[in-house]
Amino acid sequence: MNALRLAWKSLVRSPQRTLLTSLGLANAVIGGLTFYGFTHDTYWGLSEAFARAGNGHVQIADAAWFDAPAPEQHRTERTKLEAARTALAADPAIHDRLLASAVRRNVVGMLVVEGRSGIFLGEGTEPTAEPKLAPLAHSVAGTLLDAANPIGILLGAPLAARLGVQPGGTVTAMVTTDQGLTNAMDLTVLGTTMTGAQELDRAYAALPLDTALSLVDGTTADLLVLALVDTADTDSVLAATRRVLADPAFAGLDARPWYRRADYYIAVKALYDRIFGVFQGLMVLVTVLSLSHALAAVVAERRAEIAMLRVVGLRRRDVAAIFLAEGALLGVLGCAAGAVGAIGLSQLVTSLGGIPMPPPPGFSAGYPAHIRLDAVGFVVVLSATFAAAVIASALPAWRATRGELSRGLMGLAVLLALAPALISPAHAADALENALGPLPPADRRCEVDVSVQDGTATMGWRVATQGTDTLAISTTLAVGHRQAVLASAGATWFQTETMAKAMRVGLAQRMMGQLSAADVIDPRLVAGWVVTAAPDRGAAGVIAATARPGAGLAFARAEFDVAATGLLTASRFYAPSGSLLRSATYSFSEGRLVAVSVRDTGHANAVTLSLGPPTCTSSPLNLAPETLMITALTLLGRTP
């Protein structure tokens, strides 16, 4: 039987826990994929906004032009760029992927209209290519550039408003020519447009390339732009372009992809990548912590089962492998459910037309956001979540193998009873002195919540005492796996929710682990002690006691330190050989016992019991072994 099969059966055995844990992981996957899809959609939108706004997917220019602080000093002859375009268009690796291309020449100058003027940043381009180069461009008024109107100009709407011109009007463009002279030309306003970038629109102008070159009296252009059918082909076309440009005829030219030229895209992507990385890291951390906690609870629940596996002969790594396999299987289930959920959410958002988003900083229009999922996103998020699941199971798996075998086997994690002395601690001394002191009446029960900390493991119990009987039920174990203990009529009964009936645990047996804590904290067991020495009433000292033959105590001799107030301060328990087996210290607050620390000889950890305030009622419980679990669940305020 391999670990995976055993792990699977364990998961199937607890469908509710498996479902909840898997859903937790699925939520992490959905969150991660949604965030990834949103950022990926933003990247896609930005890339398209750049490349489909006339900038192209690949730009070709003099190598120095790209990064020069004064690029106008590194322009290229228009004929050279056009020759390069011809060569590129003929290349089979580019031809079918090329949507459009244009040579561009930037022009900077001033526009003047009847006493009004404004600086313009002109873009000289080829009107016939524009519809494909900038399919998203639109006119606010008039038309876009038109090859039929070579002396026309397109203005940014804010610039046109500043100049007070309408389509059909005339503006005078004044520029410095390439020779350093001043030149002017009257141009007809064909229309106005909005690029989406508010700052640019205040100075934006576009005019035919030939007109731009006439205006500056030049023959050089800035760059050649290539627009592709599919943005995803950028890298392959870039490689082919560089291969073509290696021809000596194109010496000095270089090609750059859009993602190296789109400053806004680069900045946003860097920001979002960092945010996504942090988000995913937090998601993994939360997943690890929550799943680790859930699996740690499983380990605690199955302590006896784990010990049994080790006793049977499974090695530590065999046991650890079972819990790692559980984590891995939960990871697979959670990832599968999360992937389905994320795809569904993505499709839902798409069917609703996207999530309306406000305009990004510097832009004038919002956009609908989608959850754009791809293989990379699935690989990143699913692998991170799966790894988180496995990592989360590693610590519980390791812990599962660390317990002592006998202690794990016997450690039924039972806290028997917190005695009348917990409610009336001063009674402890009297009880010991008198061998058996007054106990609460059988028709009255007192309850107290106890937290038991053993090393790093913490377990909660609710304990009820009634006369000589004590009932305890775990409060921190999962529903379906809770444990209940009844100490009644000299016998101890134990039952879990998985057991059909209570199991009798003879007091005569040496019970290990926390069960023996009952000997320390339950002074009702003083019934089994014979006090051999005690200080005077009201005086501090040590009460010495020996086990009454047949009382079934696990210790032969005990000493109880009491203060002058009658409060118990410490105790020590000895084996028949005289060696110290256990010691305990007691802490009181305002006369009420609030903590007991128990340490067994040979064990590194002390077991600490923290006690809440007791409450007493006059409604007695039916403390019978036959109805142990039913009564215990009633104590929790639940019906079975």
């Binding site: 010990a307 002969g313 009936k501 032969a556």
Partner: protein, 189 residues
Amino acid sequence: MGPSGSGKSTLLHVAALLDPPSSGSVWLDGTCLSAADGTGLDDDARSLFRLRRLGFVHQTYPMVVALTPLENVMLPAEYAGMDRAAARTRAVDLLARVGLASHANRDVRTLSGGERQRVAIARALVNRPVAVFADEPTAALDTTTGAQVLDLLFAESRASGAALVLATHDPTVAARADHLLRLSGGRLG
């Protein structure tokens, strides 16, 4: 046998390689298995030794509740390297011998204490151990069921050729042993 606190369980656990001795050592067939000075087998080797050559029956008869009684008995056999079919055959045979053939595929949570203890006996014998250690195996059972379980434990251990090392404080149980060792104050009397 011995009174409570005399060290029966401790001795049994040390002999069954569950706990290391605080002094002395554990030997079998001339091999030192475990010793206070750290010699003997390492933890993995002790685990494999328990798996292949020892059986253990405990008073609380824990089970893997995700598995059926049949799978609980098969588990040590499969981990010991027995193929699945052979392990199933062996487990079915053992469950039949302990009277639980009809319970082989039930939910272990529905078994009574006596039935679970019988499954534990079958599990302890599945790898044909040289010794079976039983720590108060009837402590959690009523008198009638306890007697039946003891009959079974003695009979099956004998049939399997395994030595049965049993710890008890009950003289009537001790009386059934071929050899009786008394523990008192942590010392064999």
